[in-house]
């Protein structure tokens, strides 16, 4: 869910990342503060409306990114149903879906390097205390990069297991996946070093 990109270019791509993140924070606070079912129904409808603005392709990509939420929604609904507060459960689920959908919306329409610029700005007070902001930015990018990379590796391992076994591999994939992750990290570290490492921009200028 974290490394989302949009299939089309939207108008929101041109807005400043700080503005989008600021609006997202405000909207999330508002969602958290309200409890009325009607409010959350309207909020979700409004959010889905935003997804429709750039067109059908964008809308479908957005919905696909939200699919991962259904198990959580199911658990919340089941729990609140059992404890006798089904309406409360519906509100919680609506709030969660709206909040994640809005966050995805910002992610889909903002370049990672623009997000990093905001992190850079927010971290500036810490830089005075000796924090290397460039290293922080690169580390964030690496974390985001490694999530889809790892899930792809897990998929490969599962397939090579299934090619030679009847049963699903489950936990037995964890040790080899850990080793693959370490190996991947080695390669990435080397490729990163080849382009200057995480130490930050060097003082040499291009002629």
């Amino acid at each position: 869910m974290i490394s989302l990109t949009s299939p089309v270019r939207t108008r929101a791509h041109g807005w400043p990342a700080g503005l989008k993140l600021g609006l997202l924070v405000a909207a999330t606070v508002l969602l958290a503060a309200q409890d009325a079912l009607a409010f959350h129904l309207c909020a979700l409808a409004g959010t889905l409306g935003l997804y429709l603005l750039p067109g059908g392709r964008f809308f479908r990509a957005g919905l696909r990114a939200l699919r991962g939420l259904w198990p959580v929604a199911l658990i919340v609904l089941a729990w609140d149903g059992l404890t006798g507060d089904p309406l409360g459960g519906v509100v919680v689920v609506l709030r969660m879906v709206s909040a994640v959908a809005l966050a995805n919306l910002v992610t889909m329409t903002t370049r990672l390097s623009d997000m990093m610029e905001v992190v850079h700005w927010l971290g500036r007070p810490l830089a005075r205390l000796g924090l290397n902001l460039r290293a922080l930015e690169i580390c964030l990018a690496l974390v985001i990069r490694s999530i889809p990379a790892l899930s792809e590796k897990a998929g490969l391992l599962r397939r090579s297991w299934q090619a030679r076994a009847h049963r699903a591999p489950r936990w037995r994939l964890i040790p080899p996946l850990t080793l693959l992750a370490l190996d991947d990290a080695d390669h990435v570290a080397e490729a990163l070093k080849a382009r200057g490492g995480v130490a930050g921009p060097k003082t040499t200028k291009l002629p």
Binding site: L112, S113, A141, I144, P201, K205, L206
Partner: protein, 281 residues
Amino acid sequence: MSHPVPRLRAEALAPCPISGHRKRFDGTATGGRAISTQADIAAAHLRLEQVSCRIGPRAVLEGLELDLRFRALGVVGRNGSGKSTLARLLAGLMAPDAGQLRLCGVDVAADRAAALSTVGILFQNPDHQIIFPTVLEEVAFGLRQQGLRRRDADDAARAVLAAFGKAAWEEAPVSTLSQGQKSLVCLMSIVAMRPRVLILDEPFAGLDIPTKAQLMRYLGRYHGSVIHVSHAPEDLADCETVLWLEQGRIRDVGASGTVLPAYLAEMTRQGEGDDISDLPG
């Protein structure tokens, strides 16, 4: 797209000139053989003095001695002969355990800042190299690493995309690209940094024939010197000089016209043997 593509300067893809570069192309190699190199200001100078490298207890490279000027240098050898280790040494990603190594006069392992404008390396798997989710960010990354400001790095990256005829790729998500397209993104990212020498460590292995041919053609847009590492002699047709590694030592170095046929003959001979049975150690 809202950004104008800046006009490309003619030298945009040429490597950084180094000061004090001597116009001498009388490359000599082990055994005192002279190696004729194309007279071109972009010729690179490689010097190895008794370079050795061990990984754990094993000597992976041993006593390499070389003094060579080249535009396109091929490195051949069987799997495990030490080609990738040599490529890593030349890119300054590791330091030799013994001996001295200079590429265009730069100690690439010690002086990383100078190494960035001296040498770039393209690995086999583009997924190991690509960090950012969109093409422009990936290409601009190395430029920011070289100290360019954000906006300048973006402009320079756009100029490189335009020079490769890929201005439309700017916002393309890397995850949607084919393997060959990802390789091209890696190539553009390295070329953007304008290194004097570009090292290719079997970067196109595993790609289909048309993709490989197209990438090789794009490679032609880079105007610096190239070190092309491959086990396959047909990949090295464009190299004027070839270095043949065998079990971590230089077996031969010289004009490709003589080294490659000898290598091919030896590989064919070894192919009839059964050293696949030999376990390491």
